[in-house]
Amino acid sequence: MLRANNLLVRRGSRTVLANIDIQLRPGEVLGVLGPNGAGKSTLLAALCGELPTSEGRVSLDERPLADWPGQERARRLAVLPQSSSLNFAFSVNEVVAMGRLPHASGRVRDGEIVAEALSAADALHLAGRSYLALSGGERQRVHLARVLAQLWPGAEGQTLLLDEPTSMLDPLHQHTILQAVRDFAERGAAVLVILHDLNLAARYCDQLLLLQQGLPHAYGPPAEVLTAEALAAVYGLEVLIHQHPERGHPLIIAR
């Protein structure tokens, strides 16, 4: 289980993140919301050890993150960055197979996992194509398949961190991808996902963390976090909150 206690991150003399106490529980999807510059990506970078924390600590299974040997950590923790700079003509299969590098599960099993992960990200039909020939949204799905393959099939004790995995996707794929992430969590993994779309967050996340200028404004189930007052305070956005007629989760409508 990935846990952050009393996290504080400074850049120069400026505090960009403070008072963060979260834990990513098995089987749960935690959504992180907040305006641009609220510290969402900083939080993700601190949680995966990319950014040193000024105070507080991040631990994976009760052991400080920095103490984990690289490969062992990579089998428990996978990270999807906001964008990728891959500029070489790997095939889609090869890109996703890189997710299997920390494992020694053999070529046959890896091949099966690559196909299953691609299928989960609705990208199996791209398998033989060159990565460079794909559109932005297709590339995003391929990278999601890569991090899914890194933890496949997903089990308790594994953690997946996703930075805006739906930013370039069409409306249908925003739902299929987040449903795939949900399914992944239901097999036992813990997931943290940064999102901008409040309605997607309301529908697919179990817990939400609403950040404002590096501080947690609210942390809890969607129905408690997504209130008209909170959204007005954090985003300066006037909204109406309804209930989804079929699913019951909050439905956010801008006024």
Partner: protein
């Protein structure tokens, strides 16, 4: 644009090409040796007591001149190509050149120091001269690369963008040093310096060959162990870290392999451009970007291409000889431009 050929047959094809080019480079020259004589003399040099014609002359030419020269060509070509793969992986740019971290510039400065400095001090004993040149060039390459690497380090991490810029700056400084020595040199020294800067396999000898051969074998054994890490690096440094690789260590190893490999190659044969840039690029078109195939393919193709360039250098104006750097630049530069144009369309 993934691999257009299957990896294994391509590697076998490249190996056969190298064998063919190796034989041509042994057989052709001012004195052409028939295939039979080359084979027979080669066998006898290996100590096989074979009957047949008189191959004494062939044995002499082969053993003393052509064999060390061809082996030098193989070593220089393969280590330059491997270093090119390492640098293109490090900078995640298919157009990176092994000279980017300053090793070529530094080696040129070391060589200029040895050539001109030696003559200014009233000459060094002829027995020491070739070694002094090689050692000085090798040391120059290592020292300048170490300085560049030092500039790229910050907070325990290596920033490759800073590394690149520091490499450009240090190469310029080394160039200024070479310019200064050129200015100070007398006519005879100037000629030596110029020829050295153009590169040549001429005058290859076993004492010059061994150090380079050892470095080449070391690099050729080490880099493939890092093939998976190099693949992951192409995704991005943080992605590779999240896949469990110790990226800072890998970056150091890549810079070290390049400094040793290019330094030793330049020390043995002077500045030979474009092999390290063009060969990995060409092989990526043939076998794709997977380093598990790309590294051996580049090794084989680099060796073949350098031997071919050397054949052209010594046959085009025979009995006179062109510096090989001119040939590789003449072939490499237009090809590079072609790749640029092709990449744009």
């Amino acid at each position: 644009m993934t691999a257009i050929f299957r990896p294994r047959p391509t590697l076998i094809g490249l190996l056969l090409l190298l064998v063919l080019v190796f034989w041509l480079s042994l057989a052709l020259g001012p004195v052409s040796l028939p295939l039979g004589d080359t084979l027979l003399a080669g066998m006898r040099l290996l100590g096989l007591p074979l009957d047949g014609g008189d191959t004494q002359q062939a044995e002499l030419i082969l053993g003393q001149i052509r064999l060390p020269r061809s082996l030098l060509g193989i070593a220089v070509g393969s280590v330059l190509a491997l270093s090119g793969v390492a640098m293109q992986g490090l900078f995640r740019n298919p157009l990176a050149d092994p000279g980017l971290v300053g090793v070529s510039g530094g080696a040129a400065l070391g060589a200029a120091l040895a050539i001109v400095g030696g003559s200014l001090l009233g000459g060094v004993p002829p027995a020491v001269e070739p070694y002094l040149l090689s050692v000085s060039a090798f040391a120059g390459g290592l020292i300048v690369t170490a300085v560049v690497y030092r500039f790229g380090r910050r907070n325990g991490q290596t920033d490759v963008a800073t590394l690149l810029l520091a490499g450009v700056a240090m190469t310029a400084m080394a160039g200024a040093g070479v310019g200064l020595f050129t200015y100070l040199a007398d006519d005879a020294t100037l000629r030596t310096l110029t020829f050295w800067n153009l590169g040549s396999l001429n005058g290859a000898s076993y004492p010059r060959l061994w150090p380079l051969l050892i470095v080449t074998v070391g690099v050729a054994l080490w880099l493939p162990r890092r093939a998976a890490a190099l693949n992951a690096m192409l995704l991005g440094e943080s992605e590779a870290r999240h896949l469990g690789f110790d990226i800072e260590r890998i970056k150091l190893e890549l810079v070290l392999c390049t400094a040793l490999g290019v330094g030793a190659a330049v020390a043995a044969a002077g500045l030979i451009g474009f092999i390290g840039l063009v060969v990995p690029h060409l092989m990526r078109l043939l076998v794709g970007p997977d380093h598990r195939v790309l590294l051996p393919a580049s090794l084989l193709a680099g060796a073949s291409l350098l031997l071919l360039a050397d054949l052209a250098a010594r046959l085009l104006l025979a009995p006179a000889e062109l510096p090989i750097g001119i040939v590789t630049a003449l072939i490499g530069a237009p090809f590079f431009l072609y790749l640029l144009v092709r990449g744009r369309s």
